[in-house]
Symmetry: C4
Amino acid sequence: MKETVIIEKAEVKLKNPILIEGLPGLGTVGKIVTRHLKRQMKAEKLADLYSPHFAYYVLVNRDGDVRLLRNEFYYWKNEEGEYDFILLTGDTQAQTIEGQYEVANKILEYAERKGVKLIITVGGFRTDVKDEPKVIAVSTNPKILRRAIEAGAVNGPSGNPIVGIAGLLLGLARLKGNIDALCLLGETRGYMPDHKAAKSVLKVIAKMLNIEVNLSELDREIEKSEMILKRMQKIEEQRAIAMHKIRKKDEERVTYIS
Amino acid sequence: MKETVIIEKAEVKLKNPILIEGLPGLGTVGKIVTRHLKRQMKAEKLADLYSPHFAYYVLVNRDGDVRLLRNEFYYWKNEEGEYDFILLTGDTQAQTIEGQYEVANKILEYAERKGVKLIITVGGFRTDVKDEPKVIAVSTNPKILRRAIEAGAVNGPSGNPIVGIAGLLLGLARLKGNIDALCLLGETRGYMPDHKAAKSVLKVIAKMLNIEVNLSELDREIEKSEMILKRMQKIEEQRAIAMHKIRKKDEERVTYIS
Amino acid sequence: MKETVIIEKAEVKLKNPILIEGLPGLGTVGKIVTRHLKRQMKAEKLADLYSPHFAYYVLVNRDGDVRLLRNEFYYWKNEEGEYDFILLTGDTQAQTIEGQYEVANKILEYAERKGVKLIITVGGFRTDVKDEPKVIAVSTNPKILRRAIEAGAVNGPSGNPIVGIAGLLLGLARLKGNIDALCLLGETRGYMPDHKAAKSVLKVIAKMLNIEVNLSELDREIEKSEMILKRMQKIEEQRAIAMHKIRKKDEERVTYIS
Amino acid sequence: MKETVIIEKAEVKLKNPILIEGLPGLGTVGKIVTRHLKRQMKAEKLADLYSPHFAYYVLVNRDGDVRLLRNEFYYWKNEEGEYDFILLTGDTQAQTIEGQYEVANKILEYAERKGVKLIITVGGFRTDVKDEPKVIAVSTNPKILRRAIEAGAVNGPSGNPIVGIAGLLLGLARLKGNIDALCLLGETRGYMPDHKAAKSVLKVIAKMLNIEVNLSELDREIEKSEMILKRMQKIEEQRAIAMHKIRKKDEERVTYIS
């Protein structure tokens, strides 16, 4: 393996497939979205991507088996709809600059070969989220951007960078000019897996592509996360109070001495 | 995109073109210079350069559109003069050692193909500028160096390195030996975009190449920067005074104790 | 040397060879195991591997001679048994991500050429070892995993990464699918060469492959290490007691002041 | 320039040339030695080496001219002796692992082409030098090692690494097997250009190769360095005394408070 390779696992003919990418990144938003769609849609393995630009370790699974880090393509035949789906998820992104460009190129080439006309990349957008996380949309095609906004997404601040594969796929697709691409970024604080942000993105995708996605599983995860968060905040507050007391005592002592 | 590519956007025949390079760098001097020339001359897009050695993110613009980091070539047909112009500006420089050499090589090859006989690179020279920032000139050709000095530039200290594309273009041009190159470095403190340094460089360029450049727009930017600077200095002074008081109080206390 | 090369030093025909890899890594477990086997089996040099991805220094030996960093293959003809052995040991692992993949690929290609059907990689597993270090087994083939467990190894926690060559050889072998691979990780604290962990691994290998390995030499090393460890612990305890006294004194003084 | 290139500047036929390498490194020992030989022997330019693995900046010289970082080969026809000389000096060494191997390979290939049968690399050996710095010798050929020791060098401690080009040239020469190589390391503290260490190495080279080298110029530099060193030591002592007084005063105060 001298360069990134994609090994196909199933020979299927897909109908105007839409590729949805969600790899590890800020708040794990992208990966949660694609993992959820995969389970919901009972998507099946299409291909594996391996790269010498991934970190040099292997993962052990429950049976004592082992495998290289990889990205995975799953497909889902949407019998009633106009288009089938390809989901791209996985363990990691490339670890070097040149590797990021190489992997993104290989994914685009493969998408082209499979007849993909639209790529949707999913990620997180770091901000101090208050209530419902918004979904920022960016696209290489104004019409698709409009459709995303009609489905609940919003325009993001300009000048902002989109880092990693979620960004590069758009940039390279635009350069090549034969595949449209849309990026959906769920607002997130980013410091733990953010199922709430993922839910917001999934709502936009479901509405925009006219598919049904059951979100109740995500709700359970959101509840869990919020409980953890509350506990962490309580600990943080107590620490702050303790620190305040110590500091006051210090000041008193200093005043006494001087 | 396995390596740096230049994609031509306009097919134009240029008359003895001079290439002026100004990419992001110290004090943003180079980029301010080429951006200003582009606006003033109403220069038009000639080509885009993309590289897998640029950082792996994309930029979002106002319309929710997105693009890869790039360098841009603009051209300007100088009907009355002896030579036309190519301006090279952009978002970034290559992020790795080997990438810097590769991008510089591609630019040189393209310049050769377009018949360029002189390359002028622009950058900043870090120093504690007092009044008017001077312009340091360095060249692969003593005659061109003399012309720059006659136009107001000065000789710089020897042994000094010129880092990045502004330097490599000269070094590689000298090695190849078929294109002359001149580097103009505006003196700058380097910690914010320095329109004053850019203005000094533009004056030298205008005089040397016998072109007219309106600098009033830059003057507005210089005023703005100076106001910001004054405000920052005031804050800095107040902080210093406060620190001084605290330290004095500390010393009094120490004296008292010991 | 533009890429990793393997230079064969002996032309031998090996009978169903098993390749045992042990290169420098956590607790030096792998290297101790292969070095011990090499001495015990009086294995002979088969080939050297050099790579431009190894650190850029050379090593000086006793005679004032010098050599590049390398990995070494040794072979051992096991006349009575069903299979011969190849041992892979050496000075270092590749220093870059891409280098790790390249070296692992070259080793696999060479193993294939020599007719290897099973690769055993050896490493350390960081944990707070209490009594006897356990040996964690992971394999690309459930049957071989079972044999390792019957020989005394245990199943490891899933989700765990195996870093470096010991992991990549399994991952790449599984991808190619024509060579079985087993990884044996001896539990170790990892902060010094751990002969005890190596001994545990050697016991599993000896039982599993039905070969005799004299371990008395290792016992001497284990004794030495334990003496060093006890001395270090005593020093650590004394330091802790001293620190405790100082802190108590500090607290008394603070109480007095405030 | 996609890879390291050597551009020949003079077409000369050399008689059994010996290549002496001294590039920037510990204590600048190697570079001082080759620069001194170049001046003494009035050696002339033979070739330049450029590499995309050198740092990405250019150097400005006194005339406002500019050039890429490079390594330089000089030759010296030793009419009376049995062999001519090639000196290798320059601005820098490669900045990446792979670059170090590539540059060393190119130098070896060039040496082969020029008929070189012996390479001598020069560097520094970090130690706490007391009186006269010793010269450590290491060689790919025991006969040459003996000659170096007869000329005043000593055997070094085994297991020691020789980092960078001075080491890699030996390691790669030994691997190829057609050029002998010797490394001479002058003992140095390493924190400033060490003319004393360079002088020791030059003495060994002169005696071993039976050439005359005037060392008086170096003596002046050694005197200068020693004066600087003494001044630095005095400053250091005064600082230590001042610190001691402050600490004592602190202790008195603490005793008083508690």
